[in-house]
Amino acid sequence: MEVVLAVIIGALYAAGLYMMMRRSLAKVVIGLSLLSYAANLLIFTVNGVMRGRPPLVPEGAVRPVEPFADPLPQALILTAIVIGFGVQAFALVLFKRAYQAAGTDDLDQIRSTELPKKSRKAGQAQG
């Protein structure tokens, strides 16, 4: 299964990065989402996928039944998912506000903080 998951991870990365390279704000934020799926799934996959077998100790026992999935990556991913959620929420709202402030969602026109010297009016070049 790792091979298939590896392909999925690659696809998620590729799609996420591709979306981030678009000019539209909305696509960039979607790309960020894909990227975090990819990273989480990557951690999950490289640490050995095992069908069934959650890292739970049965009632009354003192240790889980072997073999069981490594609980640590799961905890890491859980942390990463939650952090990712917070950051995504912020990014979403930030992008929305940036759109409102700049009046466009075309990133090629959102350059007012660093316009090159010679093209102060380049803003409308590619409307």
């Binding site: 299964m1 091979v3 298939v4 998951l5 590896a6 392909v7 999925i8 991870i9 690659g10 696809a11 990365y13 590729a14 799609a15 990065l17 591709y18 390279m21 678009r22 000019r23 539209s24 909305a26 979607i30 989402s33 894909l34 799926y37 990819a38 799934l41 999950f44 095992m50 069908r51 077998r53 959650p54 890292p55 100790v57 026992a61 240790r63 889980p64 490594d70 609980p71 640590l72 799961q74 905890a75 859980l78 942390t79 998912i81 939650v82 959620f85 995504q88 929420a89 912020f90 979403l92 930030l94 506000r97 759109y99 402030a101 990133l107 350059r111 903080t113 660093e114 316009l115 803003g123």
Partner: protein
């Protein structure tokens, strides 16, 4: 000695305050310091003349092997006396010259800092300590050249001097560090002993080159000379002090100081003599063509510095003696002449020699000083300049290599120097009284006392040269040669070829002076310096630098987010990918997939949904596809034994979709903005990054058997941590600190969303109005970020 150096810095810091308190007396009070220093150094003369040296050392930064070490021998004492003595003269002079300047306090500050740094430079016994003071002279020189800071020319000249000498200084730093490494010591006084080792080292050419660049830049040697005439933007006392008598001689000092370690080789002689000779001739050639008094003096200073460097290149007792004699003579007459030029400027309002004439009645004392100092410069007996020129000629005449050429060049430059002396000392005071912008009076006492003293010294030492020979030139020569030397100076050496050359020089000089107008026209036609000179190179380099900087910045920091991302991704792919292919074991990465049908179904769904996200034409479709990916990933988590992950992923996914829907509807519809070419390019880069990650996963999963800390958690989760859900136990106990950080992230994100939505700029315009995009106008007058933050609404 340490106190002598450091007191200057201490007093300097009080100067602005003192000037504020006692505007009339501050100058008189401050001059006590250089006077005291002069007295102290003068008191050391007899002992040093006997061959004793003084050394002091305070530990400064032992971790770097740097001591605040000072060392006084004949060479440093000669310099120290010039620095403190002329310092006193200049300080006194400046108190009158700049009496009306509101920034006089700061002037004293800079001047005293400079004086202390210069003393530090010539007294330092540690290579790095020397460099510290050396750079301090550069920076105080910067502040002094730019003293008339309102003028663009002053600022440009200050910058030029700083860049040229500072750049040379940096090269020198590398040279000094290497020298210290090769010699095994950073003590200047013990460097001579390791001269053999240094000269034999592979690094010797590099050390020599780097140190010479620093010394030449500081001492205005060709091709770095151009900063010095431009530095005449400084107030005249500064020119007199820094740019003729002291700072520019720091390079000469360093050459003299390091010649026992570095000198005597073919490389040394070739470079030092060559550069010195070129500078000597060039300076003299340019000096007499100038019309500005200060520029005449500046170029002739360059010429004199060339002589000094040339003589140190020749080396040996005779040339070294000559160098030190010229050094003293030049400092005395050139300092005086600069101050005279300042007085003329101050009284008449111009420094243009063509506009000056017949002032001897209006300014008799200044005129007399000019005459004496000018005579010394021209090399007329019985002034000290004559003595110096005699030994200079003798040294070239008897030079071991190329004596004829060197002597010819020496005579040539001296002839032109005579002309320059005439222009400065005769032209303004004799002949027809010219009309000047201001009605001239004699300069005030404080402005003629010092120059008169210096000119007087030129006479005294000319008549009695043994005085300077015994107390200064001889011990200094011995210090340079690192051994005993027979040094005598006499006013009248008898009739010999050298005397003949001196007379010839005067005669030719007088001739050229008389016919200078005709010769000038001829020389101007021939002039190539303006077109090809190194100053033009400096200008070009500066322009080129600015253009390069603009080009690079526009190229890299162009504002296109996607360009940034593409670059970063490409760099990652290249760096990580190359390393993976070159260094990692790829075997095992290629293997057949193994899976169950329902797993395959989920995989297909994820891949299809992922593709759909990238191809979606509507926002809703994209979000729906994204959600599908998220929920499918959660399914995978369930299948592979991660129920907690799955629950969290489900919940988070639901909320995320909810947020997306709330927000993304506020954004415009999807539109295809990029060209097909760009999309392909991006797809290739993105896919290669994806492929890289796939490869990494395959490499890593090829060998699944590893000992993990997991067994510890399994072992102790129930017994010690009292929980059966190991994932949760990790989150709240084993790695609770992660979770604490994590909820902090969440809290801040919430605060951020809240602030973004509720805190708007004070004069926010409606988005619709923005969308109209009066873009250009807006960019010109970007309301700054702090518009609301600043004085008005600020707190």
């Amino acid at each position: 000695m340490t106190i002598a150096v450091l007191s200057g810095f201490g007093v300097a810091l009080t100067a602005p305050w003192l000037q504020g308190r006692l505007p009339r007396r501050a100058g008189w009070l401050l001059i006590l310091l250089p006077l005291a220093l002069t007295a102290w150094f003068a008191a050391q003369l007899p002992r040093v003349a006997e061959g004793t040296t003084l050394a002091e050392s305070v530990s400064w930064i032992p971790s770097l092997g740097i001591d605040l070490a000072f060392y006084l021998d004949g060479l440093s004492l000669t310099f120290a006396l010039l620095i403190s003595g002329i310092g006193a003269v200049v300080l006194l002079y400046a108190s009158a010259y700049l009496a009306d300047d509101p920034l006089l306090g700061r002037f004293y500050l800079y001047l005293l800092v400079f004086m202390a740094s210069m003393l530090g430079t010539v007294l330092a016994d540690n290579l790095i300590t020397l460099f510290v003071f050396w750079e301090l002279t550069s920076i105080s020189s910067y502040l002094l050249i730019g003293f008339k800071h309102s003028y663009g020319t002053s600022r440009a000249a200050a910058l030029q001097a700083l860049l040229v000498t500072g750049g040379g200084g940096l090269a020198m730093l590398a040279g000094l560090v290497l020298l210290g490494q090769v010699a095994g010591t950073s003590n200047l006084s013990s460097l001579a002993a390791s001269g053999e080792r240094v000269r034999a080292s592979d690094l010797y050419p590099a050390i020599l080159g780097l140190v010479l660049v620093g010394a030449f830049a500081k001492s205005a040697q060709f091709p770095f000379h151009f900063w010095l005439p431009n530095a005449m933007e400084a107030p005249t006392p500064v020119s007199a002090y820094l740019h003729s008598a002291t700072m520019v001689k720091a390079g000469v000092y360093l050459l003299a100081r390091l010649s026992p370690a570095l000198g005597g080789t073919v490389e040394w002689q070739g470079l030092v003599i060559g550069v010195g000779a070129a500078t000597m001739v060039l300076g003299a050639y340019l000096a007499w063509q100038q019309v500005d008094l200060k520029r005449i003096l500046a170029y002739s200073t360059i010429s004199a510095l060339g002589i000094l460097v040339l003589l140190l290149g020749v080396g040996g007792a005779l040339a070294t003696k000559a160098a030190l004699t010229v050094l003293v003579a030049h400092s005395l007459y050139k300092g005086a002449l600069f101050l005279v030029a300042g007085a003329l400027d101050h009284e008449t309002g111009t420094r243009d020699v063509t506009q000056l004439g017949g002032l001897r009645r209006a300014m008799p004392i200044t005129g007399a000083v000019a005459l004496l100092a000018g005579a010394s410069m021209a090399g007329l007996p019985p002034l000290f300049g004559f003595v110096a020129k005699e030994v200079f000629y003798k040294a070239t005449y008897e030079a071991p290599d190329l004596p004829a050429l060197l002597t010819a060049l020496a005579v040539l430059s001296s002839v032109l120097t005579v002309v320059a002396a005439g222009l400065v000392a005769l032209k303004p005071f004799f002949g027809v009284r010219a009309h000047t912008p201001r009605h001239p009076h004699e300069a005030p006492l404080r402005m003629w006392l010092g120059p008169l003293f210096l000119a007087g010294l030129s006479v005294l030492l000319g008549v009695w040269p043994a005085l300077v020979a015994e107390y200064s030139v001889k011990p200094a020569t011995e210090a340079v040669l690192a051994g005993p030397a027979k040094v005598e100076l006499v006013l009248w050496p008898g009739v010999n070829p050298v005397l003949a050359l001196s007379l010839l020089t005067l005669a030719l000089g007088a001739g050229v002076y008389v016919f200078r107008h005709a010769l000038l026209a001829w020389a101007r036609r021939l002039d190539v310096g303006k077109r090809l000179g190194p100053e033009r190179g400096y200008g070009r380099a500066l322009d080129g630098l600015l253009r390069l900087a603009d080009w690079q910045t526009d190229l890299l920091q162009n504002g296109y987010l996607r360009f940034y991302l593409i670059t970063i991704v490409a760099v990652t792919v290249v760096l990580v990918g190359y390393t993976a292919l070159a260094e990692a074991d790829l075997s095992g990465a290629l293997r057949a997939p193994e899976m169950r049908v329902y797993e395959g179904a989920i995989a297909v769904v994820i891949l299809a949904a992922t593709y759909a996200v990238t191809r979606a034409h509507s926002r809703l479709a994209a979000v729906a596809a994204l959600g599908t990916v998220g929920y499918s990933v959660a399914l995978l988590y369930i299948l592979f034994g991660a129920p907690d992950l799955a629950m969290t992923q489900f919940a988070v996914e639901t909320l995320t979709v909810f947020l997306f829907v709330l927000v993304i509807y506020r954004l415009p519809r999807f539109a295809t903005l990029t060209s097909r070419m760009e999309r392909w390019r991006d797809a290739v880069i993105a896919l290669s990054a994806g492929a890289l990650m796939t490869l990494l996963v395959l490499i890593v999963t090829a060998d699944p058997s590893r000992a993990h800390v997991a067994s510890f958690f399994a072992e102790n989760s129930v017994t010690l941590a009292k929980g059966r859900n190991i994932v949760n136990v990790i989150l709240v106990d084993f790695r609770g600190l992660d979770t604490l950080g994590e909820i902090t992230v969440l809290a801040v994100a919430a605060a951020g969303v809240f602030a973004l939505l509720k805190l708007r700029p004070a004069q926010a315009r409606a988005p619709e109005a923005r969308a109209e995009r009066a873009r250009t106008a807006e960019l010109q007058a970007v309301p700054t970020a702090e518009a609301g933050a600043d004085p008005g609404s600020g707190d």
